[in-house]
Symmetry: D2
Subunit: 485 residues, 4 copies
């Protein structure tokens, strides 16, 4: 349907974290640092923290991993009892500091910072409109649109007050269309909001006198905060000196009948130790594996996962099938971004640098290998070949999700339609391409059944092409972009 050609724009995968100490504390930045570390799997390209000391905001952002960006000296400059943080990964070739979050700006309401997970579908139209009204843009993220909309909102309440910020946030988010789990911080208030369909996760936690908002519960676990509940789709959470209160983001709208929680978070993106949308990610993946064994049984000697994300499903498959489980592929955890490959003799180290097959385990065996998804097919092909080189007699590829045939526009990094092997090839063709003896995908119905969930609670557009949010008409050529820091 040609969405790709039109919307070939930057896609962000991100994690957010925020904490507000109702009582006294100067450790907000330290807790945010730990929280971001626990969310590092959601984005390894840049990270940032903005803290509030009650009077002003303090900011630090940089490219790299959380543990490298922040040290004791930097954290000591991020004073105050409240903070929000962000980790980010983008799919654009060049990664720029100017796109790092949280954004922190000054507007008529005073200073405000923003940490956003998700993608908007009408960002370009809004940007063109804002530029026509005289706004200037310094970055290339959707999130900058939101901060401009806040600056142009006409909200009642004293500048810098919770009332004024909440009013501005409602007006701004009322204009945008798409996926957002988003945190705002001013010197006086922290606000969290989740779009009405609830694409991206956001949870609420409590640590003694402090309230915590985070993308995943694993961040709560690390700081030993108690998991309270999901922030609901369409919910607005306001935390300030008087405590926490919850409101409907758009009180005049009826709650959505159809929700859009991202099922791919369960399949691949979230950490297995997270409670996501009210369900244990590990248990869900384990159940996918069991269901997959029921749908695509095969005679084999061994079930092995593609580590790390395929492990729970492989265990489930092994249990359900009664075939022994083994770690037939070992993963290296030292792979960096800029690995140098020899010039002449050897090519395509990509997969080999991360994975190695155990000859001793695989030799002569009929092997079921369980992975979470197939994107372009090239990695699966290399894995199958690696298993055969290690001596596997048969290789049966089992995928713990339906075929990924449509790109995501709501916050998961997927390539364009043309690059998704399942968009243009049948399962049989894919099996041939990846050189597997057999290939089985989890069915859509089986996926929901194994979760015990209604499909109406989830977005599965990447499998079905049923996008829950309309795309706006394209009205103008994309504006030129600035390049560089």
């Amino acid at each position: 349907m040609g969405y790709d050609a039109v919307y070939d724009k930057m896609k962000d995968e991100c994690g957010v974290f925020g904490i507000w100490a109702v009582g006294q504390s100067e450790e907000a930045a330290n807790f945010t640092y730990l929280g971001l570390h626990a969310l590092q799997h959601r984005g390894q390209e840049s990270a940032g923290i903005v803290s509030s000391d009650g009077e002003t905001l303090h900011t630090h952002r940089d490219m790299g991993l959380v543990a490298d960006i922040f040290d004791a000296d930097v954290l000591s400059t991020l004073k105050g009892g409240a903070a929000i943080g962000h980790v980010r990964y983008s799919t654009t070739g060049a990664s720029h500091l100017k796109n790092a979050q949280p954004l922190a700006v000054q507007y008529a309401g005073g200073p405000v910072a923003l940490a956003h997970n998700g993608n908007l579908v009408n960002a370009e139209a809004l940007r063109a409109e804002l530029e026509a009204q005289g706004s200037i843009f310094t970055a290339s993220t959707d999130s900058e649109v939101i901060v401009h909309l806040i600056a142009r909102a006409r909200a009642s309440g004293a500048p810098g007050s919770a009332e004024q910020l909440v009013g501005a946030v409602r007006q701004a988010l009322g204009r945008v269309s798409g996926a957002y789990s988003i945190l705002f911080l001013t010197p006086k208030v922290m606000v969290g909001a989740r779009d009405p369909m609830g694409f991206r996760p956001l949870v609420l936690g409590r640590l003694k006198g402090s309230w915590v908002l985070a993308s995943e519960t694993t961040a709560l676990d690390l700081i030993e905060a108690e998991y309270v509940r999901e922030v609901e789709p369409g919910e607005l959470v306001i935390v300030d000196g008087s405590g926490l209160r919850s409101e409907r983001l758009f009180p005049d709208q009826r709650p959505q009948a159809r929700l859009g929680r991202c099922v791919f978070e369960h399949i691949y993106f979230a950490r297995p130790d997270t409670v996501l949308f009210g369900r244990s990610v590990y248990a869900v993946r384990h159940g996918f594996g069991r269901q997959l064994a029921r749908e695509h049984a095969v005679n084999a000697d061994l079930v092995i996962p593609v580590p790390d994300s395929g492990v729970p499903a492989a265990i489930g498959y092994a249990e359900e099938s009664g075939i022994p489980f083994a770690m037939g592929l070992v993963r290296s955890h030292y792979v960096g971004r800029t690995f140098i490959e020899p010039q002449q003799s050897i090519r395509h180290f990509g997969v080999k640098l991360k994975l190695n097959a155990l000859k001793d385990v695989l030799s002569g065996k009929r092997v079921v290998v369980v992975d979470d998804s197939v994107v372009r097919g090239t990695t699966s092909r290399k894995i199958v070949k690696m298993l055969r080189s290690a001596g596997a007699r048969e290789v049966h590829l089992r995928i713990s999700s339906p075929p990924t045939a449509w790109p995501c526009y709501y916050g998961i990094d997927t390539p364009s339609r043309q690059e998704l092997v399942a968009s243009t090839h049948s399962v049989e063709e894919i099996a041939t391409y990846v050189t597997a003896d057999t290939l089985g995908y989890l069915s859509l119905d089986g996926m929901y059944a194994s979760m015990g969930a209604e499909r109406s609670g989830f977005c599965d557009a990447c499998f079905t092409g049923e996008y829950l949010i309309q795309f706006p008409k394209r009205t103008a050529p994309p504006p030129l972009r600035l390049v560089g820091q």
Copy 2:
């Protein structure tokens, strides 16, 4: 008059450089790099270059010296035949990358970059007005106000065209009040402008087919460009594919009878090898020294300068007085920003790290020491003491400018009134404080006479308090500022 308390804001000292190759060239960034190197004395804190390849802009900015920020790899990413650059020094305690220039943003007219030397007096009022209209600010410089005014201008012409940019620049600069020598760059055009009073310098040069704009002629010399002339106060220079044309910035305004060229550039700030406001800086300083000798003769054995800026005036003083000239103070050129001093025994290394007195030259001598100005008096006091420790029998301090009694609001870094020793002390009191045997300042009339110049062409507010631009009434408390990167 209390200006200080109200306007205790960031003051920038800066240098700007721009080049537009009418013919074909891919070396604009390389020439800009050299030009900024020649202007490094105007700002050592941060630097940046934005280039245009005709389609888009490429940016690199960082903290530090030009030679450290740019290398061959970085320069190779700054493609294209046109570029502008900026070096900056600010007086705020914390120096932030976000304040580095050139600014580069996206607005309705497309991408635009800006490099600004000077300070505005109505920046805060404009900022408050812009924020009230929904603008957001990410930095704390005056220059961001200008870019917002451009984005909000209603100029005719196609977006990105020279006509549209020039119209927007005129509207924007029509709103601001203060000092600016400023360069703009879009993919299609470079524009230079100088405020109607001409506070800060800006010169035009020619290098084969290219046009060059720079703060000082020393930047032209290094790239072997020909010096054409000053950009006139109130002049607008437009360079694009069709060549260079000059217009009046505000055609409806009559040219200013009273101009405001900064006389302090001649006294201290500019490099001695520069032709500034049509005069050789070296010759002007040399003449100041001769005049100073006429106004404040003294019997002495030796005339020595405080290097490096005091050298030409000391040579002039020695010639006029017939007293031998000597380099009785040696300057170290390896002093960095973060020098560590021993904790216990020794204090106040500041001046000693830079200057050392030659006992052999000074011992038993009556010494005239020539410096360009006295700010707080503390450095002069240390120098006089250093000369006495080295054996000088008498120390006669001669200053090649009138007493600095008023802060500058137009682009030179000076402390607040309270800190300027000449604002609250007589010459005799200052002589006593700095422990000089005698102290003589150049007279205001003598300064202009020795230049052969009319006072009406210059701003000398730092000596006289006669500020040429009105300050706006302060209407609101200063907005909170974001802290950090």
Copy 3:
């Protein structure tokens, strides 16, 4: 027996890699870079490569991970068809570049480089002797002793020839006592040697015309080299322009009846995909788990590993016991060296930063948790507590090795005897300390039985205190050490 107090010296864990292209190739450094990456688990503190271009040696060493130390520019300076490399981890508080390997020095035989895995027991005595003869030391590693012994050897053959180097290596290694798998490189020859008891691993591989030596087969797998065989204990391998030849390191000595292959490499240190001492590490660990289940059965609902090293044994335990296997602990792979912890409220993040327990999986369950070893007991204690906090009803700790009661002096990092909980506490006391419901260690006999191996082929001093090499009498106080780079 007080060994600790006397020999509380630096212990190194290391990996080595070497390649010699018999034909033409300029890629030796690139392959070494890949090989070191595959051996990164053996040392993450520093790394280095020395290459030979046939005329001279080229060196690069630095602190950090292989992927960070080397880039294309650096590798391009490491010219030539032969190279050796080293990764290192040391247990001393301060880590210094001067201790990074390979060592590269100039001596009478020309330039020589050395990469050493293992620890010597008579290094200090030799060092004292060498110093008494006028040698100077710049680092604090055992390996520097070996290079001095080579420099002082009286070997026949032309300086720089294979004959001369081999003679010098034999004389040098004839003086040292302890563990070494060691590579030497000169412009003309590469030599590999393994001590007569074979403590540390070393394998030989072949990649087309090149010969490869590496600590583990995983390095061969990555570069797609063929595994030829172990370098035998007491074997000397010489590779030069005329090919590879193997000799006895000490031809006059009889081969050792008792060998000392490090059983702890199988238990913990080697990668599971390695073939170590002729056996698959994964298969050995899996067998340990099965044997452990036979020796220490328990009624439980779940078997979980402490990832990553405990995974194969846990799978084995689960299979043998019939209890379901689950990944009840999730490991983070983003933990750096310098993690900052909050100051006030939360302490002891060490284990929590790496591991998180899955409440959903563990809640209400009787859990068998399988780890490879217990050192101080503190980590086990935190893990047991973490499992209980996550809701485990019972926690049964199973260790896939015998109690670690004695420090290693042959190349594995272990603390001193006093710190080893098993040296002073019974199994029951340890169980109480770590708060486990039950604790079971693999028996020594069971360990060997499950491997199908004779104890006489291995060193198990860490479990039994039966050190295979005598310690020299201590004759002098330890010399002062230089501190710093």
Copy 4:
């Protein structure tokens, strides 16, 4: 005479500093840091400090400037009341950390550090001899030879005692031939020595209870230490807990009749504020200029220096000749090591990046330009051309030293004979090459006469080829050198 071809080896220019607090102080490293800063002009490539806390030595060395290498954190690790430091510049293409000083090693006498200024003429022979005896070398400096000789000395006294160190130093220095002003530090004693001919400077100072040794008095000035006297040629200074004592380095040798103080230090290398070999450098240079005016008078309008080193001589020339003095060339102090030049249009920025000529001052003038020396002639040629481009009608080049026709082997960086323009060209030919109207060098006799000095006290081999120390016969080909870090 072909010395160059044989001895085309590394030449070091260096500065040394040492301090020993007889009383209590923990600031030795801080004072050394300041002292090295004052000596930075003697070497900008690498620097280091070794301190003694009475028990052990602490070391930090790195590439770069003193102010960049050391910060408060680093200095705080360099504990103790005694320290030595070193700044270094080498002429080899590649600069390596391994060659940075002070050297710090462990030998039979304990830890010892060494900071050396000067070059040895028999280093290669000694190195070959030491290697033949089993010594290994890690760097490529002369200084490493000295430390090996110390390690092999047979000195009486307890290891680490002053007696033992002094004995070893005497034996070691008794073997070497060449130039050295050298400092040694052990936990218990600091020793300074100067070779019997006194090529390189070394002075003694006193700061309250502390003794200071430094290459130049400018380092004493900065820390406000009192200048006591030169360390005499052939003197040995020993400082330890019992205070300072002076001895003859070789008591059995008669003092040298002919001394070798480097006259080039006076001409160019030392800072003008230093008292060198008992004479003020500024006064000596000033006198050279006066003498030069007497020897090579010319009708002219202006005398200008090549800054900075030519300034005192130009002032002297102007005074003696009565021709006005002017700063017709301005020097930039921001030139770094790695300046990038444009690729296509402009070449040979070398001199232009450092110097700019003042058109206004020079236009139409007959100019005498005074420089300290001519090496290859290329720089002089560029300067003369630059002056003519700026409008000078005549350019008369005056050099405040005799023609430099011979390379230095005693510690000053000079190119090989072939590259020295004066070794193969007459003064007239050089004048033609550099395009000067006239060229005049200071005569050798005039040089000494203007100093009021006997030639027998100085080395002037660079002008006369009369080398005061014999070169050893070359017996072996130069050994291969290791390349890299």
